[in-house]
């Protein structure tokens, strides 16, 4: 699979009267990560949603491998994985069912034993049949990490857009997460991560500090 390039050119977005960002751009090649930093409410989530195609920008373009993608285009949906604030879990599904459901929607065909292995790697195996509504916040977040683990590099979607992925994770969970991102980048993937925490990532990292009205 060819390495992926994610590029943003001249992106601008206003939310009501507030200008969130204007003329925002960056280039990410295979194996690179972009860390978004800035205070709460500055527009990190909005930028990630624009990159994912969920929110349409007022102006500018998002390019995948040099081709502009309109929001939620087919190319975009095959390449972009968005892990937002919300856990995107069904309360009525168990941990394992949620993972299977997410992978099915990702069109990522992972055999059951590998799914269970991923759950085990994140300490969820004993709770795999517990309904999501009875899991702790940290455990719910770990299901998302298991999904990411099964999407590393060649397997699934190469462009990761992660919004505060380590929310509610303990130190061990945050550590596992960083290893995950590193292996994804090493495999040629690309990541844009909004976070408050320091990230110790191998490979080249760019940082974008977002401020009010810029």
């Amino acid at each position: 699979m060819a390495g992926r390039r994610l590029e943003a050119r001249g992106l601008g977005l206003t939310r009501g009267p507030r200008l969130l960002f204007s003329d925002l751009g960056f280039v990410l090649s295979a194996g690179q990560a972009l860390i978004l930093r800035g205070p709460n409410g500055v527009g990190k989530t909005s930028l990630l949603r624009v990159l994912a195609g969920l929110t349409s920008a007022d102006c500018g373009q998002v390019l995948l491998d040099g081709q502009p993608t309109s929001s939620l285009s087919s190319a975009g949906r095959h390449a972009l994985l968005y892990f937002g604030h919300a856990n995107a879990l069904k309360d009525d599904f168990s941990a394992q069912e949620n993972l299977a459901d997410q992978l099915a929607l990702d069109a990522n065909f992972v055999p059951l034993n590998e799914q269970l292995a991923a759950l085990k790697a994140f300490g969820l195996l004993p709770r795999r049949d517990v309904l999501a509504r009875r899991l702790s916040q940290g455990q719910k977040r770990r299901i998302g990490l298991a999904r990411l683990a099964l999407n590393v590099g060649h397997r699934g979607k190469p462009v990761w857009l992660l919004d505060e992925p380590t929310n509610a994770l303990d130190a061990e969970g945050a550590q596992l997460f960083q290893q995950l991102v590193n292996s994804h980048l090493a495999d040629g993937g690309v990541a844009v991560i909004a976070t408050h925490l320091p990230m110790d990532l191998a490979g080249s990292t760019q940082e974008l500090h977002m401020q009010e009205g810029a």
Partner: protein, 235 residues
């Protein structure tokens, strides 16, 4: 390692999205059995209100039966429409659906079919019993059921568009009713019209074929409109 490429490609066919969304929603519906019975209970109760309101005179009840059954079915379907998208919208899974490689219109189609299986279909199954209460005979009951089987999918499909438009909006359910009820009127007219035609001894095929035509037209168009509405609501 994952399965061979050809099997993968087959599994990744876009149409499979309909099946995936259908199974998912059906499974979730089965997990909240309380909700499943609601539409049915509402339907039965409200239909039974009418004889209490207008008196037990058989001729009159028989005359109003098609209209009453249809209006109550319509309202029962509308009551359950928020179920199609709201839960997914609240827990963030709707965004994942929008971002899935499977085309969103096909995922919406799967959701609509699941919704119909859990609301319209049971309503059509129960309607004959209620029709008996109103004094309809066998042939007339069959026409009522046929009309409901053809019409309730249309109600689900149109209603899903309305439900998607008002996601996250204050007063969403009432607003959705206001948006969707005018669009329901043709279905009501042809559905109830078919039953009345059979009561009058006239040919019902015209009414039922019009319903069928609307159903076919809806099948091809409403998934796209619903997907567009979802994208607008996620913006």
């Amino acid at each position: 390692m994952s399965a061979e490429p050809s099997a993968d490609a087959e599994l990744a066919a876009p149409e499979r999205g309909v099946w995936i969304a259908f199974c998912r929603d059906l499974k979730l519906a089965m997990r909240s059995k309380g909700e499943l019975g609601q539409a049915l209970a509402f339907f039965v109760i409200v239909v039974s209100l009418f004889p209490l309101a207008i008196g037990p005179e058989t001729a009159l009840l028989k005359r109003v039966a098609p209209g009453v059954v249809w209006v109550c079915a319509l309202l029962a379907v509308m009551l359950t429409l928020p179920r199609v998208f709201q839960s997914d919208h609240l827990d963030g899974t709707l965004e994942q659906l929008a971002l899935s490689p499977y085309p969103l219109p096909l995922l919406c189609a799967g959701k609509m079919i699941a919704h119909w299986v859990t609301t319209g279909l049971p309503l059509a199954a129960v309607a004959p019993v209620l029709g008996l209460q109103f004094g309809l005979d066998g042939r007339e009951l069959m026409v009522v059921v046929a009309g409901l089987l053809l019409g309730t999918p249309i109600l689900t499909m149109l209603g899903a568009i309305g439900a998607a438009l008002v996601l996250g909006v204050r007063g969403g359910s009432i607003l959705m009713a206001l948006l969707v009820l005018p669009l329901y009127i043709p279905v009501l007219i042809f559905g109830a019209g078919a039953a009345e035609a059979s009561m009058a001894g006239i040919d019902v095929s015209a009414n039922l074929s019009l319903l069928g035509a609307m159903l076919l037209f809806g099948l091809v168009t409403t998934p796209f409109a619903a997907a567009a509405a979802v994208k607008i609501s996620l913006d």
